[in-house]
């Protein structure tokens, strides 16, 4: 589904990704881990088309298409979804309006009819259950005045409504208390299907107690320094990152 080959990217003059290569197949969950500054969030944002980063080398193929040649909105319409580490607040626009507008853009791109507000409410009420929320949240302004946990939960609600084929979760677990983490993880698990794939970008192993990955990659200095099965995450939990990244050994 997704082939990343020798990907280099930079922000301004600062090189952040220095040759990432990875393949994600349908039905798989990949965890991308690494210490702060290793480039894992940059990888997530580059895949979604964030304008702050410039790709200087390498290729990304998504379902046979050149992903890097696509506008961010076209990537979304093709089924790529990024759950933001810092979701953007948009006071003045309700969550319900925003979600319906986004869903209808995706539906139009697929040649489907747009949903009117009534049909949308029906769909939304069903998806709200996945994140354990009532319909009130649709009347609130997008992320405005939300707690950190609510913002992350709102990202998962968007994902539940937009039904991406490739979901990239950028540190969705950071800043969550254990209850919020469970809600978010349960939402992600229920959205797992044999024909879609998930990339979890995370600093900590604890999310992986709830969402079990098929493959774990460790990033350091913009490169994947080790890949393995789910047990690699446990090893990281026990030993820290330094034995892989060449940094000072933990005592």
């Amino acid at each position: 589904m997704l082939q990343v080959n020798n990907l280099h990217a930079q922000a301004g003059e600062k090189k952040i990704l220095n040759g990432i290569t990875l393949t994600v197949n349908r039905g798989e969950v990949h965890a991308v881990m690494g210490p702060n500054g290793s480039g894992k969030s940059t990888l997530a944002q580059v895949l979604a088309g964030h304008p702050a980063y410039e790709v200087t080398e390498g290729t990304v193929t998504y379902d046979g298409q050149d992903l890097l040649d696509m506008e961010p909105e076209d990537r979304a319409r093709a089924g790529v979804f990024l759950a933001f580490q810092y979701p953007v607040e948009i006071p003045g626009i309700t969550n319900g309006y925003f979600l319906r507008a986004a869903l209808n853009e995706l539906r139009k791109a697929r040649g489907e009819d747009e949903l009117d507000p009534i049909d949308f409410m029906e769909l939304a009420e069903n998806r709200l259950k996945l994140v354990d929320w009532g319909p009130d949240i649709l009347g609130r302004m997008v992320n405005a005045g939300f707690s950190g946990g609510e913002k992350k939960r709102n990202e998962i609600l968007q994902m539940a409504i937009l039904e991406p084929r490739l979901a990239i979760l950028d540190e969705t677990d950071s800043g969550l208390d254990i209850d919020a983490l469970r809600v978010v993880a349960a939402g992600v698990n229920q959205l797992r299907r044999p024909d879609n794939a998930t990339i979890l970008v995370t600093h900590y192993q604890r999310l992986l107690n709830y969402i079990v990955p098929d493959v774990v990659h460790v990033l350091a200095a913009g490169r994947i320094v080790k890949s393995g099965g789910k047990e690699l995450a446990l090893e990281l939990e026990a030993k820290g990152y330094d034995w892989l990244t060449g940094g000072p050994r933990a005592a």
């Binding site: 506008e71 909105e73 990537r75 990024l82 948009i90 853009e105």
Partner: protein, 436 residues
């Protein structure tokens, strides 16, 4: 170009001018004032950003009686469903009873058109008219005082309350091309009274005309006023308006100013806080496109202690539009414990659009809390990326984010029908784009 106005004044005075000596005197001194000072010039600080030549280089004579009277259906699109309220419709500056709806009869509340009130409430008007928006303020106010003979009149006696808002709708039709209307409104809320007035300025068709309007509102001790002005003139027209709100002790006022229309629009809003414990809120939203010029000059005079004002004005400029915001806050030495907060935010949607924003704080008391902030910017690229990442492309994303910018003001509007009416107008406007 002042001569034509003087000739017009003499003609108007001969044809059924006022009988009341105070009014004749007021109008006479107003036209003399105009004859002496003329229109404001670019050398005057308050007008230095304006290019008034489209107004001052031609002579706008009094608007004719509409030759083909519009029907109720023609004006229905300008009305809102306002429970307990009523609509007073003025056509080319003249009251149209046929197009208006009768005001509910409430004990202690008088709502009528000013021309009628000059007969029924002559004494009251003689005491107040022209006492707040003074003819010395500018040539425009002087002209309005000399010519203005109709508009909305509201008088709420002590302790009484209006049952709903009065919507004064000033309609210009095709026959007003090259002419001027002088709406004149007066609102008096006595102690403990409450009332709400919405002024709409609209056009049945496009056309180049001038509307020069003045509203005086007196808010008595402990009274509450809600005043909204919705300016939707033809985009070839000129609109110059002054709203003067005079507040007494413990009173409360909220003012909305929404400007969408006119080639050139100048709104003056003067709020005078004359007593302890007064609260005032001033909200504004202006949108410009094409070559529209929209200017909001607000002035708040804190003349007494323990008063608070909050002002939020927002502008959206597209095409080659030009906006001016000047927010004056004057705090006298007596006005200790003043709490004044002013914000002006501008969104530029095009490289050619331009904003001149100027906070003007003059503070002569030492124990006060006064803040101001002015910003001019474009749409947040991070927010735009957030929308794109959800499949919402740049065109729709721009509309959504621009609407969101306006929503902070729209959400504050009173009455669901007024709010949703303006939400639709703003959305439609964004749909039409930069030039239209």
């Amino acid at each position: 170009m002042t001569t034509a106005y003087l000739t017009d004044f003499e003609a108007a005075s001969r044809n059924g001018g006022s009988k009341a000596p105070w009014l004749t005197g007021l109008r006479r001194s107003a036209i003399e004032r105009f004859a002496a000072q003329g229109f404001p010039g670019a050398r005057e600080e308050d007008w230095r950003f304006n290019n008034l030549s489209p107004i001052t280089s031609q002579s706008f004579l009094l608007a004719p009686v509409a030759p083909a009277a519009p029907t109720t259906q023609d004006v229905a699109r300008f009305l809102y469903s306002l429970p307990g309220g009523c609509a007073l419709v003025f056509l080319n500056g003249r009251f149209s009873p046929e197009l208006s709806t009768p005001a509910p009869r409430i004990e202690g509340v008088t709502v009528s058109n000013l021309a009628a009130a000059l007969g029924t409430h002559g004494k009251l008007l003689g005491d107040h008219l022209g006492q707040y928006a003074k003819i010395e303020k500018s040539g425009f106010t002087a002209l309005n005082t000399a010519f203005g003979h109709d508009g909305v009149f509201v008088h709420v006696k002590a302790g009484a309350a209006m049952s709903g808002p009065i919507h004064a709708v000033f309609v210009s039709d095709r026959s007003t091309a090259g002419s001027v209307a002088y709406p004149r409104n007066f609102i008096l809320l006595e102690a403990g009274a409450s009332g709400a007035v919405i002024e709409s300025y609209v056009a049945l068709q496009g056309g180049s005309y001038l509307v020069n309007t003045v509203t005086e509102a007196v808010v008595g001790e402990g009274a509450r006023l809600e005043h909204s002005k919705i300016q939707r003139e033809s985009e070839q027209a000129y609109h110059v308006g002054t709203t003067h709100i005079h507040q007494e002790r413990d009173s409360h006022s909220t003012s909305f100013s929404i400007s969408l229309g006119a080639a050139l629009c100048r709104n003056n809003l003067d709020v005078v806080l004359n007593g302890l414990g007064i609260e005032g809120q001033l909200f504004g939203l202006y949108m410009g496109r094409g070559r529209q010029e929209v200017d909001n000059h607000t002035s708040i005079l804190h003349a007494s202690p323990n008063c608070s004002t909050r002002e939020v004005y927002k502008g959206i400029l597209d095409g080659s539009a030009h906006a001016i915001f000047n927010g004056k806050v004057y705090v006298t030495p007596e006005a200790q414990k003043t709490d004044a907060k002013q914000t002006n935010r501008n969104l530029l949607l095009s490289d050619r659009a331009k904003v001149d924003t100027k906070p003007q704080l003059e503070i002569f008391a030492d124990d006060v809390k006064c803040t101001h902030g002015a910003t001019v910017g474009s749409l947040d690229p991070l927010a735009a990326f957030y929308l794109k990442s959800r499949g919402i492309g740049p065109l729709l994303g721009r509309k959504i984010l621009t609407y969101a910018f306006a929503a902070e003001i729209l959400e504050e509007l009173p009455y669901p029908a007024l709010r949703s009416g303006l939400e639709s107008l703003v959305s439609a406007r964004l749909e039409e784009g930069a030039e239209a």
